[in-house]
């Protein structure tokens, strides 16, 4: 299990996420807004590519390609002096952490990847065993926020007192490498703890708390009915618990709940009262960020206007 004291606040490569960039760019700007104010030492490097997660989990990329692309990104992180890869997306986190483990423990794959780099004249990308540590070089941005929760509370400009919030902790953060998670993988409380520091009232346990969002990579497109049924199950449970705000840590889950909530309402003839945010957007908002110029709420499908007005933010 990870110890909160071991979470670094320097030399973080803020790992760009494709789904954040294309669907919820405000998650990236909110994270930067918060990191800047917390004095976190991070950098963003345009040389960093996609982790391959979308292709890997739709069975399009094979393991060798995924591992080689990861090794390239590790070289990008090391060469700019920011080797602590910090992800906005839980799938990037899982892919990178797993690829690092493979590169360190599987000599055959490591040598194959390196021979590809040499063959292509990319010697600068060569990965030597233990160049990166799967336990100490890979983080999710939410872990950094949790480690700074006291500072967040101190800098809080807006109090979310009385907001009934529920957390959705991403599967690829806590179920893939489950031995290396902050807290209990059966009941992670990262988002809840941060939300509470901003004054919200997290619903600590609700029915089907650990259920996946239902996106399932190819499932949303190949088996849409099942996919939406899974999503609906959790939305039903949150509605029953009287939740008004659902807080996310992964753009894939965020898409599934925020984009498809109106679709589910229409297809299943139901009505939900909750809005959606990423935890970084929520923290940024409580630290005084502009809901549209920083948090980027204009890209959301479930409109937040009513929620923001009711809470007196706009």
């Amino acid at each position: 299990m990870k110890a909160i004291e071991s979470i670094p606040d320097s030399q973080l490569l803020l790992f760009k996420s494709c789904m954040v960039g294309q669907e919820y760019p405000g998650v990236e700007t909110s994270t930067r807004y918060v990191f800047d104010r917390l004095g976190v030492d991070y950098c963003i490097n345009d040389k960093q590519s996609c982790c391959t997660g979308i292709g890997h989990y739709t069975d399009v990329f094979e393991g060798l390609t995924t591992t080689a692309i990861a090794a390239r990104n590790f070289a990008v992180a090391r060469s700019c002096g920011y080797p602590n890869i910090t992800c906005l997306c839980s799938t990037c986190y899982a892919i990178n952490k797993e690829a690092c483990e493979v590169l360190n423990t599987n000599t055959e794959i490591r040598e194959k990847v390196n021979s590809i780099f040499r063959e292509q004249g990319l010697e600068n990308l060569v990965y030597e065993k233990d160049d990166m540590n799967p336990r100490t070089n890979f983080y999710h941005a939410v872990e950094i926020l949790l480690s700074k929760v006291n500072e967040i509370q101190k800098q809080k400009k807006f109090d979310f007192s009385g907001v009934k919030a529920a957390a959705h902790h991403a599967c690829h953060y806590y179920k893939v490498k489950y031995l290396d998670v902050l807290g209990n993988p059966e009941n992670p409380q990262l988002i809840d703890t941060i939300a509470a520091a901003c004054g919200a009232e997290p619903v600590r346990w609700y029915e089907d708390r650990t259920l996946t969002c239902g996106m399932g990579f190819s499932q949303l497109h190949l088996n849409k009915d099942t996919s939406l049924q899974v999503t609906k199950t959790k939305l039903d449970s949150l509605q029953k618990a009287g939740v008004e705000l659902m807080i996310h840590m992964c753009p894939n889950c965020h898409i599934q709940y925020d984009r498809y909530q109106p679709v589910i309402e229409e297809e299943f003839d139901v009505k939900y009262d909750m809005v959606h945010m990423n935890i970084a957007q929520f923290v940024a908002l409580s630290m005084g960020a502009h809901p549209y110029k920083v948090c980027g709420f204009q890209t959301h499908s479930v409109p937040l206007e009513e929620f923001l007005e009711k809470k007196g933010i706009v």
Partner: protein
């Protein structure tokens, strides 16, 4: 067409279990041999909750070296949520075993049409260093999500600029990603998959209408006489 060889995902071994254990997709400590068929995986599984999908049965088939599992629609229902991975008391990982089975099926040209949807991810990644929702998925989303989403997508570039980001999320990979995808054999495999899909479409076209739908559900009848029909593919 000859089967495709994908040596790291699906190393050639005498049994399905050996391939699963040696694959790059499964953890080195995979507890497949320790499986006690307790069913914690199926009990935890979101797909099992709404369909006849059963990770426990899939693992049983693998342990019995029953290759008919590759023909089963079942293996295409996993969400890759890793709930079975975290819950298994014997450190087995049905979710990663299913990934190996899908790769084995693809090598034999089974289920390749399910990849058609996602194949442009590779080329887009090589060109832009980023991934995106494939075109077919965008069309689905346009239909499902309607005006609001289409409008947001149209304004994406100006929204990004407003937020202080570059207008498009394009990475500066200096051709390195392209070179890597070429050298790992990704493009070669993509070409093979596309040709296989084409071949199957042609085949289906030729013998369409005259025969009944072939039963590709695999044999799971040892405890369920219901056929697993899967979900109808969501066509565009």
């Amino acid at each position: 067409m000859i089967p495709y060889v994908n040596e790291y995902d699906t190393p050639e071994c005498n049994t399905l279990a050996e391939t699963a254990k040696k694959s790059i997709r499964t953890p080195a400590s995979l507890g497949l041999d320790r499986c006690i068929q307790c069913g914690a995986c199926t009990a935890s599984c979101p797909a099992a909750r709404f369909t006849d999908y059963s990770p426990r049965q899939i693992v049983k088939k693998v342990m019995e070296n029953d290759r008919s599992v590759l023909e089963s629609e079942m293996i295409w229902s996993c969400f890759y949520c890793y709930s079975c991975n975290v819950r298994c008391p014997r450190n087995n990982s049905p979710v990663t075993i299913v990934q190996v089975l899908r790769q084995m099926a693809i090598n034999e040209g089974i289920g390749v049409e399910k990849l058609a949807y996602f194949l442009e991810i590779g080329e887009y990644l090589a060109e832009n260093g980023a991934s995106k929702v494939p075109g077919a998925g965008v069309k689905n989303m346009e239909r499902d999500l309607g005006e609001r989403w289409i409008r947001f997508k149209k304004n994406l570039e100006s929204t990004r600029v407003e937020l202080g980001l570059s207008s498009r999320d394009i990475r500066n990979t200096n051709g390195e990603v392209q070179a890597i995808l070429e050298a790992t054999g990704y493009f070669e495999r993509e070409k093979w998959i596309k040709a296989k899909i084409q071949e199957k479409r042609l085949h289906r076209l030729l013998k369409n209408q005259c025969i009944n739908k072939e039963n590709k559900s695999g044999d799971f009848s040892f405890e369920s006489d219901r056929e697993y029909s899967g979900q109808p593919a969501f066509t565009i």
